[in-house]
């Protein structure tokens, strides 16, 4: 098994604060000011939302795209743990971390977006089984917990036998140690349940997100309104999983000066060419079956947006078909980034661009402050990712410096 050749995940032990991290932190602070403004003056102060356009950038990017791109977590868990392809173990931890952070910030984004943030747990009390949103919310709540449970072994591995709190906290050192041992013992035997539950819950709410807009057949543009929209959301999320892993691993290994992990990433995207092929086939087949191609070249913004979205899938798909391009770090990164952006555009198309309220007098475009809060959330994810990989055993790629020393 190649997992034995691959080095074990370890904390990076790097300097945390760099100029880049300071920039991230500044963006976070700016966004945080706008979040405060939202809680002082209401959504109207920071957003361009109105009664015609109740959902905006935060739903399109922070929630819908965030969930879709967090699919790397369950797709890597499925291939490495369920289907037993151990060579991909190396990317499961970073993907799990991204998913955990992704879902955490989906929840935070939602809390900012809903009018009564304090009422966010109410669906747990008042069940409404007819509501697609209720199903999505329940799955997201449970799945976020599953992700944290899946993350526990990483924390245990880091701190077991090393709990050494200073001062008065040292009294509980022993108890925490026992708790870690207990958690480890239980999870060692039961983790498979959580791993499979994570995949099932993901399939449920990824498709559920697609069902959301099916309640508005007169508002969603026919290019996207299709009864198979849930299936399209599910297949596109599955297809986006590995490209997102490539995107994030490449960015991380490049910025942390680690080995590029191409021996894992290149074969992983070999699977993507099938998954993406299924999605593209469904999407084009659906377009032909429902004869919606008539809207493609009618000069509308929707038609153009649909074409761009499809090109952002088809072009990288052809790139992934070539083994030569897949083996090169730069072309693989370009292909995968295009897919990631294409998925983001698809979600924005469904929730924002394709959403045409019949009596709208103006169209929606996000305000600067909405963008600032979205940027704040994205930077927060990056910030906490760096924090986690610095202090927890997540990344396993050897550093370039150590590789040079060996040679």
């Amino acid at each position: 098994m190649s997992s034995h050749d691959h080095p074990k995940p370890a904390p990076l032990e790097i300097k945390f604060w760099t100029p880049g991290v300071l920039v991230l932190f500044a963006v976070m602070l700016i966004g945080f000011c706008f979040i405060i403004a939202r809680y002082l003056g209401g959504l109207a102060v920071v957003t361009n939302l109105d009664n015609q356009h109740p959902w905006g950038l935060w739903i399109g990017i922070d929630v819908a795209t965030g969930v879709a791109l967090a699919a790397g977590g369950f797709t890597t868990a499925a291939i490495a743990h369920v289907f037993g392809r151990h060579q991909y173990e190396a990317v499961t931890r970073p993907a799990l971390l991204t998913a955990t952070l992704g879902y955490t910030f989906v929840a935070i984004g939602l809390a900012i977006d809903v009018g009564r943030s304090w009422a966010l747990p109410k669906p747990l009390l008042f069940w409404q089984g007819n509501s697609v949103l209720f199903e999505v919310a329940m799955c997201v709540v449970v799945y976020t917990h599953v992700l944290y449970i899946e993350f526990v072994p990483i924390v245990v591995e880091r701190f077991r036998g090393r709990v050494n709190l200073p001062g008065p906290f040292s009294l509980v050192n022993d108890r925490i140690e026992r708790l870690l041992t207990l958690a480890d013992g239980i999870l060692d035997k039961t983790m498979w349940v959580f791993i499979i539950a994570g995949v099932v819950l993901s399939c449920m709410h990824q498709s559920g997100l697609g069902s959301l807009m099916l309640i508005a057949p007169t508002k969603l543009h026919p290019l996207w309104y299709t009864p198979i929209l849930p299936l399209l959301f599910l297949t596109s999320a599955i297809a986006a999983g590995y490209p997102m892993v490539v995107f994030e691993t490449t960015v991380a290994t490049a910025s942390f000066k680690r080995a590029d992990e191409m021996e894992v990433l290149a074969p992983l995207t070999g699977v993507t060419k099938y998954l993406l092929g299924i999605y593209i086939t469904l999407k084009i087949g659906d377009m032909i079956f429902r004869e919606t191609y008539v809207y493609l070249f009618d000069g509308s913004i929707e038609g153009r947006s649909f074409i761009v979205e499809m090109l952002a899938m088809i072009i990288p798909w052809f790139m992934l078909m070539s083994k030569r391009l897949r083996a090169k770090r730069h072309t693989l990164f370009v292909a995968c980034t295009t897919i990631v952006l294409g998925i983001a555009l698809n979600r924005c198309n469904v929730f924002l661009i394709g959403f045409n309220p019949p009596y709208a007098v103006n169209s929606y475009f996000p305000s600067i402050s909405e963008m600032a809060i979205t940027a704040c959330l994205l930077c927060s994810i990056t910030f906490f990712y760096r924090l986690a990989v610095t202090y927890l055993p997540v990344l396993s790629a050897p550093s370039l410096a150590s590789l040079e020393k060996e040679s």
Partner: protein
């Protein structure tokens, strides 16, 4: 792995396509339309309305809203199209269908806009907590104590009616016509219908109203088009309209005759009946794991697995 993958897609595909087929067969499979058996309703006679906006004033009074911003004798307010808002649950708009009177002047038609109180409402189906609910008496009622503020109801409403208090930082409400719930519960007319000086709004039980209205149309074929808007639209609405001018020239939407929640609820209840789909998927994946990767079921993946001699 490919076989399992394919099988998995088969399951997912079957789930969705069975739901889609259910939709095509409409009444025979999938979701049955819902509607209270004997709800109240209103019929607005657009040929009677003169656009005096007394109904707007009455509505604001009954619902404790600030009085209309524009005075009732200010006719310029009709120069642009308005939508119901957080401070006005009903508004009157003026349309010109193109018909000319004896003096060659365009004949205006005034259209009252408010919540249609759908028989099988999209907002209530969408609502994550059931804060919106279709009552037996016909009103689509909003319970702010359940509301989370997700605004999915605004997305779902085909008539684009609910308005949101975007300026309230912590306790915004969804605002819309209440069908004067407290009044109709005591079998009283809603505020607007009681106030209308032209008696353009007829209040009564929906079924009775439909019978009376169809007789009225049959008796006055010149005055009315043979159509009751809201009889079939989105599965029927409690508020309905009759008109002389074609409805599409008066800002009315051409809407399907099936209830809006049909497809979503067919899919949801198709997949989640007895949780069969998630359970099946779980079983398949557990089977695959047991077959391909059994050591996973004894030990968590990651560091332990690597230390294990295989």
């Amino acid at each position: 792995m490919n076989i399992s993958r394919r099988r998995f897609f088969g399951v997912a595909g079957a789930m969705i396509s069975s739901a889609a087929v259910g939709n095509a067969k409409n009444a025979c499979a999938g979701r049955q339309p819902k509607a209270p058996p004997n709800p109240y309703g209103c019929v607005v006679d657009l040929t009677a309305c003169v656009g005096c906006r007394t109904c707007e004033q009455a509505c604001n009074r009954v619902n404790h809203l600030p009085p209309p911003e524009e005075r009732l004798d200010d006719r310029t307010v009709l120069d642009h199209k308005r939508r119901p808002s957080t401070s006005a649950f009903t508004v009157i708009n003026r349309y010109y269908s193109g018909r000319l009177d004896a003096q060659n002047q365009l004949v205006p038609t005034y259209v009252k806009v408010q919540c249609m109180h759908c028989q099988d409402p999209a907002c209530a189906s969408a609502c994550i907590t059931g804060a919106l609910h279709k009552k037996e008496n016909g009103a689509v009622n909003y319970d702010k104590s359940r509301c989370v503020g997700c605004r999915y109801c605004l997305v779902a409403c085909p008539f684009q009616i609910p308005a949101y208090e975007y300026f309230d930082p912590l306790t915004p409400r969804v605002r819309k016509c209440t069908f004067c719930y407290d009044r109709i519960r005591q079998d009283e007319k809603p505020g607007c219908a009681a106030a209308c000086p032209m008696e353009a709004i007829t209040f009564g039980h929906r079924q009775t109203l439909l019978e009376v209205t169809h007789r009225k149309i049959a008796a006055n074929p010149v005055r009315y088009l043979n159509k009751v808007y809201g009889e079939f639209e989105v599965g029927g609405t409690s508020w309905m309209y009759i008109s002389r001018e074609p409805f599409e020239k008066l800002g009315f939407l051409t809407l399907p005759h099936y209830p809006m929640p049909h497809l979503t609820e067919t899919i949801q209840h198709g997949i989640f009946a007895y949780m069969w789909a998630p359970i099946t998927l779980f079983a398949i994946l557990a089977g695959v794991m047991w077959k391909i990767n059994p050591q996973q079921m004894n030990h968590a993946p990651g560091f332990q697995a690597q230390e294990d001699p295989i």
